[in-house]
Symmetry: C2
Subunit: 403 residues, 2 copies
């Protein structure tokens, strides 16, 4: 055995530089204003430990880049003249989120504070339609949202597209596979009318998880976000960071074997979660066809006490509980979040999910409340898509052009 040459203990780091230091401190200043603002320059110094002159230099640059504004504050209880306070600019840089779902298109623009300012949503049956046609419609919806945002003084700095498919960890914006749309090895940019506004695609479950994290204001949390559109997706947020897996395939909860000798899945394996808790399986078990908005229909039937719908949702919840037992044992999250369609069906899914987890998670502390529905429901992915640009700007405001 030899140890030589195996000692670096981590990827080789780039050396630290003066520019890197300034970039990091710009992020520290905007991060503190985002978390605690509006704040005076003195308060920013107090929060960060940076000197007053350093804070002023950073603040001036952030104002110059359009990220912060400085406004007169109302006189506080303290004696003296009214101060000036730094705040995130709500008439400046913004993020555009787009979504191509199986049954809808959506667009949303958020400002730097994370506030949604423009919404667009249209029902569309996108499964099996030519991808170019779907993408052109999405681009038109995005352009409408951008011009409405421009009228509010907002300037879109980044565009992200939520898709119900696998987006590998590689540059170039490839959607490897979106079975419910009928897409395979497709780059949305290749079909986008205007190359300058082509969005970066990302898996909708991942974006739903980022939205949940942002909305909860828990920047360092570790949780599993489970959502359902036509398929079942899960996303892992670890210490505040989305974990995409070695190649971008993490969170494939729908193909965990919950009943190893059970029903044959479309994927070829047996007893996958999707055969018990996927949309098609639940609708079949509930005796319903796939018409209109199946999630709303299921909720309506279950709410009215329909026995088949209740049985289908209970069976789905038990299967989800089994798969989530594996997730909890492997990942040890702080909590589990039911997003997307599952959030809207949570009243009927939660009891059986919680019962399975309570019976099966015995070697660690666990409380039923650790599983909860998302407040964002089916809006999560498009919000997450819009927020991801804002999140990147706040992590590195030098992404904004200096003015």
């Amino acid at each position: 055995m030899t140890g030589t040459g195996r000692g670096s203990g981590g990827a080789e780091a780039a050396p630290a530089s003066q520019q890197g230091m300034r970039r990091r401190n710009l992020a520290v200043v905007i991060g503190v204003v985002a978390a605690h603002g509006p704040l005076s320059r003195a308060d920013v110094a107090g929060h960060t430990g940076l000197t007053r002159p350093a804070v002023s230099s950073m603040a001036d640059e952030l104002i110059g880049r359009g990220a912060l504004t400085e406004t007169e504050t109302a006189p506080s209880g303290r004696v003296g003249r009214p101060g000036r306070a730094l705040a995130l600019n709500d008439r400046g840089p913004a993020g555009l989120g787009l979504e191509i779902g199986v049954t809808r298109l959506a667009a949303c623009v958020v400002d730097l504070r994370g506030e949604p300012r423009v919404w667009r949503r249209v029902e569309r049956a996108n499964a099996g339609r030519p991808a170019g046609e779907v993408l052109a419609e999405a681009a038109a919806l995005g352009a409408e949202a951008e011009s409405e945002a421009a009228a509010l003084g907002l300037r879109v700095e980044g565009r992200v597209l939520a898709v119900p498919g696998v987006v590998p960890n590689e540059p170039g914006g490839l959607v490897a596979n979106a079975p419910n749309l009928g897409w395979q090895a497709l780059r949305p940019a290749d079909h986008w009318p205007d190359p300058d506004t082509a969005p970066e695609p990302e898996n909708e479950a991942n974006l739903g998880a980022l939205a949940e994290q942002w909305y909860q204001g828990n920047p360092a949390g570790t949780f599993v976000h489970v959502s359902a559109e036509a398929g079942i997706g899960a996303a892992l947020v670890i210490g505040g960071q989305l974990f995409r897996g070695a190649r971008g395939f993490a969170g494939e909860l729908g193909h965990l074997p919950v009943h190893p000798e059970g029903a044959r899945c479309a994927c070829g394996a047996r007893g996958c979660l999707e055969q018990y808790a996927g949309e098609a399986a639940v609708l079949r078990e509930a005796g319903l066809g796939r018409v209109g908005d199946p999630v709303a229909l299921l909720a309506e039937r279950a709410g009215a006490g329909d026995a088949a719908a209740l049985r289908a949702l209970d069976r789905a919840g038990r299967a989800l509980g089994l798969a989530l037992t594996s997730a909890v044992n492997l990942i040890d999250p702080d909590g589990l979040v039911l997003g997307g369609a599952y959030a809207e069906l949570a009243d009927w899914l939660l009891p059986s999910i919680r019962a399975e987890l309570a019976a099966r998670i015995t070697v660690r502390p666990w409380t039923p409340e650790a599983v909860r529905p998302s407040a964002l429901g089916r809006r999560g992915p498009v919000l997450g898509a819009a927020w991801s640009t804002v999140r990147e700007i706040i992590a590195d405001p030098t992404r904004l052009p200096a003015r």
Copy 2:
């Protein structure tokens, strides 16, 4: 919905400072020497992008702290006088690894290059013995190893103790639970004869995974390391970092429900992996009692073609394959490593593990070779314990006292 105050997108970072920059650059220099050394100062500058004077200043400090040495190199093919080269010091700082297993105690000292220089290992039945007695023996073994290391010019800078139990994410060195030793809520430091040499406990599966990573020289890899001692443990290495979970319970593979309505487990749940692939279950299925070294006995029987042993290992492999299908679907690792006792039984476990994975992992690329036995086997945890100190020194050499 409000976005204000939720915008920081990550835990609040500390501002960058001149000291922080120097610390980081010291780590960059030692990291490059660890990965590519011996290297001249000019070569270090070339690898890192740091200036020659900066490299010289860092190198002098690292030599002063005992982390590097500078030696005359043999004349290379190039014209000119022989150069001097920086290398990791093999007569300086070192790490002590200790292990308390169910049937043994072990100690190991590694130098900064990661080379094991001292080994100690004794067979001991530790289950159910008074913890104070076991810990005193481990301390004596560690002291012996340290004095042998001192005779080689090595100075132990950190001590880590591998235990087959849960070590939560909190300071204070608590072992929450080590059922196979009979420990509960125990702090090894409270029973250690000399407080100055009390080691930091860590779960043995986690240390086995770190050892594997070090040994493979894959500093940014993402893999799941599965090992078995009396229980089943798994550890997740994500992008080169050990992932311990929100509270330190990640990797509890032994309690994944592989057959939801199956055998009742000691944990209270049904159909846990441990009931099919745990040591007790495999020995029972193979018709063997728990005598001497059960792993060696199983390997001997299976090697001789004993039908019951082969059946027991095949059943264990299939159950492991089911649990690992869940791990692959959730985490998307580059690979899976069988460590500890499983490494020594890999000839009989691998075929059924690989067959299950091939049949069940259908929605992503997967090759049978992605599952492989560890070359370290049961030495992994104690090596990982020793290496973890060296790893920390290389990540931050200012941990070493300046001289």
